[in-house]
């Protein structure tokens, strides 16, 4: 019986292998998101893939499968070890999360396990404080942190995610030591801690912080990116405020496939997917949801991954 199943499976893979190069994709595609339904990554993944069934895109719909757990490790472990490299299993990546996790160890993936296809979004980390906080700029924050080492509590979505990286970079740039408080339940729980006054400040996603500021709950003091963001033209970057913090903590989101996927398939995806992201229906929905878009091609993403790998290696070496 076992042999029969194995035989059938082999015959099947043989068939798909032969047909693939020509008319990929010929059936619906699955995309794995390693965060739960309703999270920012899931939400954006659903929007950017909604036009994939169009004739000028892939011509086949993309279905989202959620494999949440352990800050994304469960999903990416699965993607690196169990996903079929046949082009019908795509995955969503979050940089710097998965790179930082692979540096800290305990997972079965690294940048070498995946082939990037294209990037759709970039959500910078921002520094937020409660609406009634005494801090009004990063200078105030740094001054307080210098006077009270280890006493300035700052919430974020977990260890070795963009928020944590940003906190480490601020510490390194200013020579301070803040008490970084990782929360369970992602950015929403970290934001709640700031609004409720459980912590003195927080590092959060620009998109979530923007909403919280609109609702009058928080003040945004600085953006950890190279340039000011179009959503927040009045908020200065960290660099403008004299802190040497680059865009290493920016949460890049995009599509990848497992290593071993046929090159023709990667080529086809790399050519079509950025176009699909550029669809005006997609950008309209993304903008309405307050999610900053940043489309990058496969080559640009490969370069960005390599860069991140290097910065994070240096930053996390001392921890």
């Amino acid at each position: 019986m076992k042999r029969l199943i194995a035989g059938a499976a082999m015959a099947l893979t043989g068939l798909t292998g032969a047909a693939m190069a020509e008319d990929y994709p010929e059936r619906p595609i699955m995309m794995m998101v390693s965060y739960g339904a309703g999270g920012a990554t899931d939400f954006q993944a659903r929007i950017v893939t909604m036009t994939s069934g169009n004739e000028d895109a892939l011509g086949m719909p993309i279905a989202i499968i959620n494999k949440p757990g352990a800050g994304g490790r469960v999903g990416w472990n699965w993607f690196a070890t169990q996903a079929d490299p046949d082009g019908y299993t795509l995955g969503a990546y979050n940089v710097p999360h998965f790179i930082a996790q692979s540096i800290k160890g305990g997972v079965e993936y690294s940048t070498d396990s995946f082939e990037p296809i294209a990037n759709w979004g970039a959500d910078p980390a921002v520094f937020v404080v409660g609406a009634d906080s005494e801090f009004n700029s990063m200078d105030d924050v740094v001054a307080y942190a210098k006077e009270n080492p280890g006493k300035l509590t700052v919430s974020g979505a977990g260890l070795f995610v963009g928020h944590h990286i940003a906190a480490l970079q601020i510490d390194k740039a200013a020579g301070t030591k803040m008490a970084y408080i990782p929360t369970k339940g992602g950015g929403a729980a970290a934001m709640k801690a700031v609004i409720a006054g459980e912590v003195m400040g927080g590092i959060n996603n620009l998109s979530d912080a923007f909403r919280a500021q609109e609702a009058g709950n928080v003040k945004i003091l600085g953006v950890a990116d190279l340039e000011r963001n179009t959503f927040l033209p009045d908020v200065p970057t960290m660099m403008e405020q004299g802190l040497d913090v680059d865009n290493s903590s920016v949460n890049f989101r995009g599509v990848m496939v497992p290593k071993g996927t046929p090159p023709e398939v990667i080529e086809k995806l790399a050519a079509t997917v950025p176009e699909m992201f550029a669809n005006s229906r997609v950008s309209k929905k993304m903008e309405a949801g307050g999610s900053p878009m940043h489309i990058m091609t496969r080559d640009e993403v490969i370069e960005m991954w390599a860069q991140r790998q290097q910065t994070l290696n240096e930053l996390l070496a001392g921890l």
Binding site: D42, E108, A179, I181, K184, A288
Partner: protein, 503 residues
């Protein structure tokens, strides 16, 4: 009273059709094992892409309310709780169904759901600003004590003895540590990649409740050819109404507990039903009947889990913070239409906000009507011969566990836990305390670690966890709860020895 002004919008043909569709679809999705309310709402999000904002939310709101109630169907008839919210419903509901009173149990559960649900939504309408402050008041230290309070309930919940209840609670707490720890990323007890994400709560629920049931049915089938047909008693809806309102204590404790607990971000929905069940049992004059098919148990559990729906949306609608996984999915549904929850929602899009809230109110009523209709039909499930039933439940269990995140790993976890639980039940342990441990473990742990980190940076652990009005109040309740359990245990021991002496 602004909400009355927008009532008309719910009854436009398109909106009402969506409301109807969402409610019926939600009931069916909710009754399907493995499809939790969060999943059901997430599945519907793509459909709202094409709709207007208010219409999309009507669909989601209706689906949310009715999936929570729909979970009672599989909990009562098959002993498979569709979501953590329905665990407490199985305790008495399924025993009632086994006695042929499935129709009565379902009718009571839908009526209680509607009462609780409407109360919850009314709270959302009238007290949102006040409640928002409450929701924020619960910091890590308070959530930690709240979880500990839940742990103290474990001993008294559905168990022959406090010691066995505590033991199975401990097994649950241990199971909860499996996987990557969410805060520090440490790996614990991961012997197989399928365990990396920890034990999935839905898969565990199905395994712990349904599988022992299936095994027992198979075991019985051998002896008496499995043709043990239960006579299904018809039960009039009017009688169910009368019974519901004669059980005001269970109904009010359930509704209030559900509303209060539902408000607390991150804890609410999962334990509302269980805590309400336990509280009702403690205050009831017929304590011994609980677990043997007592209607108060069903009423308390179901009124609580639907009462939680309204308040659970308070943090989302006012502060833009999703307090539960389902609220997070609803946030996505709002954002996709460019609407930011918070003051923006009520000031600039009152039509959307109030139509959404109103639709949940009407949805509760529709859910109740359809639920009552279904109750009469569905109760006949009990007439299916046991051996056939066992096969059906087994198939649904596998399907349910697999569908949570499309992974066979969850099916193996379900099977292992189920087989383990089958033997534990033989020894007098029960599944409810175990599940409670599984749910509370991570909440207690994460909040202790997080609170501890904040405390170390500020005032120190002792004063962070032990001072402040809310902390002291919660500690007092914890102590009272422990004292009550000890007292009950001692008293029951006295009784047994007396009876034994007389015999």
């Amino acid at each position: 009273m602004e909400f009355i002004y927008y009532f008309g919008d719910v009854f436009t043909p398109m909106s009402f059709l969506l409301l109807l569709g969402g409610t019926i679809g939600g009931l069916i999705l909710g009754a399907t094992p493995g499809l939790s309310p969060t999943m059901a709402v997430a599945l519907l999000i793509p459909f709202t892409f094409q709709l207007e904002a208010a219409q999309g939310l009507i669909l989601l709101g209706a689906a949310y309310t009715s999936t929570v109630a729909g979970g009672a169907v599989s909990a009562i008839l098959l002993k498979i709780p569709g979501a953590p919210a329905n665990i407490a419903t199985t305790l008495d509901g399924h025993t009632m169904a086994q006695k042929g009173e499935g129709a009565r149990a379902l009718q009571l559960s839908f009526l209680a759901s509607a009462v609780g649900g409407i109360f919850g939504v009314l709270l959302l309408i009238f007290l949102t600003p006040v409640l928002a402050q409450w929701a924020l008041a619960f910091g890590p230290s308070h959530l930690f004590w709240l979880a500990i309070l839940g742990v103290t309930v474990i001993g008294t919940l559905d168990s022959a003895s406090v010691v066995k209840g505590l033991l199975s609670g401990c097994i649950g707490l241990w199971l909860a540590t499996i996987g990557f720890d969410d805060i520090m990323g440490a790996q614990r007890f991961i012997f197989h990649p399928a365990l990396g994400g920890g034990i999935n709560i839905i898969a565990a629920l199905i395994g712990l409740f349904a599988i022992p049931q299936v095994l027992t049915m198979f075991a019985k089938g051998r002896h008496n050819s499995g043709a043990e047909v239960i006579e299904v008693q018809r039960h009039s809806i009017l009688a169910a109404f009368r019974e519901l309102f004669s059980r005001t204590r269970a109904l009010s404790i359930g509704t209030l507990t559900g509303s209060i607990i539902g408000l607390i971000p991150g804890v609410g929905g999962q334990i509302a039903g269980l805590v309400a069940y336990d509280q009702t049992k403690k205050f009831s004059s017929e304590k011994d009947k609980f677990g043997t098919g007592h209607s108060e148990g069903v009423i308390a559990a179901e009124s609580a889990n639907n009462a939680m729906v309204g308040p659970s949306l308070v943090p989302l609608l006012t502060l833009s913070i999703p307090g539960s996984p389902t609220a997070a999915v609803l946030l996505g549904g709002l954002l996709i239409h460019g609407i930011f929850p918070g003051s923006d929602l009520f000031d600039n899009h009152p039509d959307v906000a109030w139509t959404f809230i109103n639709s949940m109110l009407i949805g509760q009523v529709l859910m109740c009507i359809f639920g009552l209709y279904v109750a009469g039909l569905a109760a006949r499930v009990a007439q299916v011969p046991q051996s056939v039933m066992a096969a059906i439940v087994l198939a649904l269990s596998v399907f349910g566990a697999y569908s949570v995140q499309g992974s066979m790993g969850d099916v193996y976890v379900m099977a292992c836990l189920g087989i383990g639980m089958f033997f534990l039940e033989r020894l007098g342990f029960s599944a409810a305390p175990l599940v409670l441990g599984l749910i509370l473990g991570p909440i207690a742990e994460a909040n202790f670690i997080q609170g501890g980190m904040i405390a170390d940076a500020t005032v120190g652990k002792a004063s962070y966890f032990m001072t402040g009005g809310l902390n002291l109040f919660l500690i007092a309740v914890v102590l009272a709860s422990i004292a009550y359990s000890v007292w009950m245990e001692l008293r029951s021991r006295c009784y047994t020895t007396k009876e034994e002496a007389q015999a």
